[in-house]
């Protein structure tokens, strides 16, 4: 196969960049959807919503503080509350340093907390992830390699999640961190009286303003990416694609955590429709069904399948309990009875006379 030099020099470095942008955008969509769900439960679950907001503000403030630390501006004041966070530098630096610390503030929350979780995952898993090797260094190959790397990581992550052992303290710790990341990856609002709503547009506007504030820096960043890509080609390594694949992994970790957060918020939202103490039943089903399965399954199946089956049974039994409660305690999921039966119940007055 002939490789076009134009492809290698101009287009190939863009392939993993497009991949990162795509997954980051998917992440943004999930965040927006999660905020919509949170707004639906705001009135009945204010403490939970405030907690998620606190997590979001905390991540954002830590990222900003990290930005000041990396640029050696120092931190003179660090303040975090449920609805507001503030970091003040010791030295006000301008130019590239200011731009870098702002990058940490605007883009950091999407990747830095997920990086922490990725490290935890790799530590628990105890082994690395296979990386695809580059041969031709073309645009198509770059895209395929990026996808392959993401697939390999996703496979590992999903295999771990479907066999997660909820009686294993490090596994529980990882799950809690995953839920915390998903719940508060971005705050819903900033300011005591919800002065500023933080949605997808707010984030995108901030990033756009940040990029157009200093377009030269973005150009430099692109140049740097191209130089790094050329070095990888010259040394016949896959460093460039691998580095950007890590950003893809971070997006996948964030997306998975957002999906889990969605499931939890949906469960809360659905159980709100169930009257009285019945609404507690689905929440009790979760630990009871899991514990019961963990007790019974060792007598029935092989050791390696116990955690997965117990998890599956826990999820299914919770869904069934929610559906049954919705059907029998609310007017939801009520189906119409057959017409013939209705006529008999209504009597002759309602029957059609010819």
């Amino acid at each position: 196969m002939t490789v076009s030099p134009v492809d290698v020099v101009i287009f190939a470095p863009l392939a993993p960049l497009f991949g990162v942008l795509l997954f980051w955008f998917i992440q943004l969509l999930f965040i927006e959807s999660q905020k919509y769900l949170l707004s639906k439960i705001w009135n009945r679950h204010k403490p939970l919503c405030r907690f998620t907001n606190f997590l979001g503000v905390l991540y954002q403030t830590i990222c900003h503080a990290l930005g000041y630390t990396v640029t050696k501006s120092g931190i003179s004041n660090f303040y975090v509350s449920v609805d507001y966070g503030k970091v003040a530098p010791k030295k006000e630096k301008k130019g590239i340093f200011e731009w870098m610390s702002n990058s940490f503030l605007f883009i950091g929350p999407f990747f830095i907390p997920a990086l922490l979780l990725l490290i935890c995952f790799l530590l628990i898993k105890g082994s690395g992830v296979e990386i695809a090797q580059s041969i031709d260094y073309t645009f198509a190959e770059g895209l395929i390699n990026f996808g392959t790397n993401l697939y390999a990581f996703s496979e590992n992550l999903f295999l771990f999640l479907v066999s997660i052992d909820l009686l294993h303290p490090p596994h529980i710790g990882f799950l809690i961190l995953l839920i915390f990341l998903g719940m508060g990856i971005r705050p819903s609002y900033i300011g005591e009286e919800k002065q500023r709503k933080v949605n997808m547009l707010y984030d995108l506007q901030n990033i756009k303003a940040h990029i157009f504030h200093k377009p030269l820096y973005i150009l430099m960043l692109f140049l740097l990416a191209y130089v790094f890509s050329y070095i990888s080609v010259l040394l016949k390594t896959n460093w460039y694609t691998s580095l950007l694949s890590i950003f893809g992994w971070l997006s996948i970790v964030a997306i998975v955590s957002l999906i889990i957060a969605h499931m939890i918020i949906l469960l809360i939202k659905t159980t709100d429709e169930i009257p009285g103490h019945w609404r507690l039943l689905p929440f009790l089903t979760i630990p009871i069904s899991y514990a019961l399965m963990r007790f019974i399954l060792p007598f029935l199946t092989q050791k390696e399948y116990i955690a997965s089956i117990a998890l599956f049974v826990m999820l299914i039994s919770t869904i069934i309990v929610v559906f049954l409660l919705l059907k029998y305690t609310t007017n939801k999921l009520k189906t119409t009875t057959k017409m013939k039966e209705s006529r008999i119940e209504d009597g002759p007055k309602r029957s059609i006379r010819k």
Partner: protein, 294 residues
Amino acid sequence: MDQNDLLESEHVEKRLSPHPLSFMRLQSLCLFLIIWGVLVGWLVNFSEYKDLLSGNEWFPVLVWGLGLLLVGVIASLLTIQWSIFFLYLGVFAGAVGLMFSQGWLVESGIFIPFYSVAISIIGFLIVELYRRSHKYIISSLRIIFKGGVITKRERTLRYDKITDIDAKQGIFGQIFGFGTIIPISQSGFGLGSDKSFAAGGVEVGTKKVGFLGLFGGGKEVQTPRARSYYELHGVYPYKEIKKLVENMVQGHVITPYQQDQVAFQKEQVDIQKQMRDLLKKQIDSKEDGEEPES
């Protein structure tokens, strides 16, 4: 509060008690005990390190005890409260005593998590009992603080005696909407102090003849602090209660305009008194038939 306890023309504005999560500092001690106990149980019985810990029957006890006491020391230093360390020391000593007396040392891997959970449940119950013993009554004339599990305490604070109001809301408070309000009285009730002390030593001389010197310095900072019985601890809804107390205090404080009015009235009364005395003197002199002095 009984109606008989109320003063004349006094009425109750609010009856309060602390929020269930307002004693999180105490509850977290029990929470840690559960988590650490279960973790040690898992390490000894199920983890990949179980062979390391099952070498000697004392290993699990030592690991559990060391972890407990280490956290106790750190928490005590951070909160300047040595009772935390002694509490954990007591829990550890209790466990060792029970294992010895009952001969459960061999089964320490099973005993430790169960013991930790049992002690924590007792701890949670005691904290809840302690919380429920607090009662705060905000009336139209004063704030009444009542409490005590065994010994009953009561503090009454009139609004005109309040000089400052200190209010604080932690992260849990901000999430669940509760907070602590400390009314500081003119006598300084509601104020505590943070003490810090630094010391250094030096040894001069050889092994035979030595001199040991010790020097140090202390620092004390006044800070609003009171026992939970003497403050509005973890009250809900925080903002509403704070506004109510501030309004009450404001309603009982004489404003500068009112102070001027009082001074003016006092002046008027003094003048009237002087006039009265003068008139009395004139009347007396007339009755005696003397000419009044001009």
